[in-house]
């Protein structure tokens, strides 16, 4: 497309810097505009949803009957009742019957199925859900249930990381171990975690343990493989360089592999936390029902879909906030990758302030190596 000669040499570069192009391959949005994109990411779906909900001629396949008209007229569609949601065709059919009989026509408002409540209904359900006090002695407020769910997630993910991270890093570092572990993990990770529900209850009882276990089963096996792969992706050049300098296995692991993989592992963990949440609803229904899932399931059974969506939104918000917080922390954690040493300087300063104390306490032990 572009003539190869002059354009490539500097000419193209200057042109781009003068007038930023939005859609260029791998060119990020200018940093000032990024918050707007973030907001847009939410506003666009919300706008689409609002259009479908509030613009009467878009979708709205049903009619909410407000007035049945002359109920005495018998016909194929005479079953219409006030407050009923009927197919548009049936409503039209009924009015045709009524018109033929020269009777009063039925009235109705175009509506969506109950599976798609409008945004304001869900917003209202959201607020109501938090403000409704527990009805029965011994029941929990919704925020308490949510907190309970978060605890289940936390422990499930914690144990999964406790075992998955070290084992994954070892598998990614030492191929014999990987060949021994990974085939079986590959086999197990396809097993649906929920089917272990009854077994988990049988072994662990009715409390949180079986729920935590389901989340563990759901995340651990995936985590192990992902961690192993991330570890394998550590730059081989670094390892060779360290080896030529005579690094031992242990030194390679702790000074090259682990620091090399950590930043990406941290990002992997952010994604895997979301994975843990997907198992929550199944996990909380086994044993005694608990947490946000008990709320979701009960509301769904009685077809209060606005409450169901409100519950889903709550989970979404918790997930988003967790992810953003982790992302924020992540910016300060790995200076060797990001170049951001603020956190480390902070630590150094704190340590510096305490240094005299440490020296005073450590006096009887002069360093033997000197």
């Amino acid at each position: 497309m572009v003539p190869p000669s002059s354009a490539v040499r500097g000419g193209a570069r200057t042109r781009i810097s003068e007038k930023p192009r939005w859609f260029a391959v791998r060119r990020d949005v200018p940093s000032k505009a990024r918050p707007w994109f973030w907001i847009g990411a939410f506003l666009i779906p919300l706008a689409l949803w609002s259009i479908v909900s509030y613009v009467p001629w878009i979708w709205h396949p049903l009619v909410l009957v407000t007035d049945v008209g002359d109920a005495k007229v018998q016909g194929q569609f005479s079953y219409l009742e006030a407050d009923q949601l009927v197919d548009k065709a049936d409503f039209v059919g009924r009015n045709a019957e009524l018109a033929a009989a020269h009777a009063k026509l039925a009235q109705g408002i175009p509506s969506n199925p109950i599976f798609l409540p409008a945004p304001h209904q869900i917003a209202r359900a959201f607020v109501t859900a938090f403000r409704t006090p527990p009805q029965l002695a011994g029941d929990l407020w919704l925020h308490q249930s949510l907190l309970h769910s978060c605890q289940v997630i936390f422990w499930g993910f914690f144990y999964s990381a406790l075992f998955g991270l070290p084992l994954g890093i070892l598998c990614g570092t030492f191929p014999p171990l990987a060949r021994l572990v990974e085939p079986f993990v590959d086999f197990v990770r396809y097993m649906p975690a929920p089917v272990f529900g009854a077994l988990a209850v049988a072994v662990l009882g009715l409390g949180d343990e079986p729920k935590i276990t389901i989340i563990f089963i759901g995340t651990f096996f995936q985590m192990l493989l992902i961690v192993a792969n991330t570890t394998r992706a550590v730059n081989g050049g670094l390892l060779e360089a360290a080896q030529t300098l005579g690094a031992s296995n242990r030194q390679l692991l702790w000074h090259v592999v682990v620091p090399g993989a950590l930043p990406q592992l941290y990002r992997d963990m952010r994604i895997l936390v979301g994975w843990a949440w997907t198992y929550l609803v199944v996990a909380e229904l086994i044993g005694e029902m608990s947490g946000i899932s008990a709320f979701l399931y009960q509301q769904q059974r009685y077809r209060h879909f606005e409450n169901v969506y409100a519950g889903i939104v709550m989970i979404g918000i918790i997930g988003l906030v967790t992810d953003q917080v982790l992302g924020f922390i992540g910016r300060y954690l790995f200076p060797w990758e990001t170049g951001n040493r603020q956190l480390f300087r902070l630590f150094a300063r704190l340590r510096g302030r305490r240094a005299p104390l440490v020296e005073a306490a450590g006096q009887p032990k002069p360093a033997p190596s000197v």
């Binding site: 569609f77 079953y79 219409l80 009742e81 009923q84 949601l85 009927v86 197919d87 049936d90 109950i114 009805q135 029965l136 002695a137 011994g138 029941d139 422990w155 499930g156 144990y159 999964s160 075992f163 079986f184 197990v188 272990f196 529900g197 009854a198 988990a200 209850v201 049988a202 072994v203 662990l204 009882g205 009715l206 409390g207 949180d208 343990e209 935590i212 276990t213 563990f216 089963i217 651990f220 229904l285 086994i286 044993g287 005694e288 029902m289 008990a294 709320f295 399931y297 009960q298 509301q299 769904q300 059974r301 009685y302 077809r303 209060h304 409450n307």
Partner: protein, 363 residues
């Protein structure tokens, strides 16, 4: 084998650690110990309430219950403090129906609220139980809902019917077909999850569904023009809802279970009294997240059984007005539909003696 045990270890290793967290008090036992016999072995934490403490021996009786009016009614006893009053320590455990049976099979609860038929099914998998109490029988809550144009059972011939195969409403459907001189060969049965009855009927994939409340009601409401062409009022007593107790617990704690039976009769008398309907509906609806008025509809389809009712329906007989007759029919149905292979000794699953004793020694 090694792989499997390694996997099992990997799966349950977290539990060893989880046991260290501060949790609700009932789960403190380490996994190995809690997998052992449920009722008698664990020492009593002795947290029974003040006045009743002297009479209560052993840990609280754990009753698993789920979303059905006849069982949600237990909440009335709990909220009113009637268990304490009667001197028995009871913990109600709120479950989904199928997981409640799993928990009972695993010996994690002492009793479970089930239908008489499902007690047999649970028993066939190695968890025998004894029904000591009839809470209610379904009187309209179980329905066959057909889309518009289908007015009678005879119209079902050649039609598709959605039902959760092997569960109570499959039985209801076969009974319905029988009453219209049809068999399951004359219709096409489409397996369906009961809680998806409304969507399934609405989608047009089937011409009728068999389901219990609130799913049957949802189907009626969301599919305009649909009608209930057959309900459990046509066959009252086909589906009894009972309290099924672990036989070991029953043997060890018979006195306590008798108190539970008496508490139930108090609940039943309370519900049957017209002036308590609002109060009862308020407590029960709060458990399931409905408005009291909406819940009254569901209560109407449930024939709550008081002492007189229990005595009547626990009498041996072949008809559906006896739980023995009902269980026999269900047993035959289960064998015929390969839910389990050999007929069960259903009489061992029923024990009217606690009801009898309770009636002799009035509170």
């Amino acid at each position: 084998m090694i792989r499997i045990s390694a996997f099992a270890f990997a799966c349950f290793a977290p539990a060893l650690f989880a046991a260290c967290d501060n949790k609700p008090a009932d789960t403190t036992a380490p996994p190995a110990a809690s997998a052992a016999t449920p009722a008698a072995s664990t020492p009593a934490p002795a947290v029974a309430s003040a006045s009743a403490a002297s009479e209560t021996a052993g840990p609280p009786l754990k009753i698993a219950y789920s979303d059905w009016p006849g069982w949600v009614a237990w909440d009335i006893a709990m909220q009113k403090g009637w268990f304490k009053e009667a001197g028995v320590d009871v913990e109600l455990k709120w479950f989904e129906y199928a997981p409640s049976m799993d928990a009972f099979s695993a010996g994690k609860v002492d009793a479970v609220a089930v239908t008489n038929g499902d007690a047999l099914v649970t028993g066939s998998t190695g968890a025998p139980s004894v029904a000591i109490l009839i809470n209610d029988y379904s009187n309209g809550n179980d329905m066959i809902v057909a889309k518009k144009g289908i007015k009678t059972l005879a119209d079902l011939k050649g039609k598709k019917i959605g039902v959760e195969v092997g569960l109570v409403d499959h039985l209801l459907l076969l009974k319905a077909l029988e009453s219209a001189k049809l068999t399951d060969k004359d219709v096409k049965i489409v397996p369906m999850k009961t809680d998806q009855a409304a969507q399934t009927l609405k989608s047009g994939a089937v011409d009728a569904v068999a389901a219990w409340q609130p799913n049957s009601g949802a189907a009626l409401k969301e599919v305009p023009g649909s009608t209930a062409i057959f309900t459990s009022t046509n066959v009252p007593g086909l589906i009894y809802d009972v309290l099924a107790v672990n036989p070991k617990s029953l043997a060890a704690r018979r006195v306590d279970w008798e108190k539970v039976v008496k508490v139930w009769f108090k609940v039943a008398d309370f519900i049957k009294d017209e002036k308590n309907v609002d109060d009862a509906a308020k407590i029960m609806s709060a458990r399931v997240g409905l408005t009291p008025d909406a819940y009254k509809l569901l209560m109407g389809g449930t024939a709550f059984q008081d002492m007189a009712g229990d005595i009547l329906h626990f009498k041996k007989g072949d008809g559906l007005d006896s739980i023995y007759g009902s269980s026999k029919i269900v047993d035959d149905f289960n064998v015929k539909n390969a839910v389990y292979k050999a007929p069960m000794k259903y009489e061992e699953y029923l024990d009217p003696s606690l009801v009898d004793d309770a009636s002799k020694s009035k509170m």
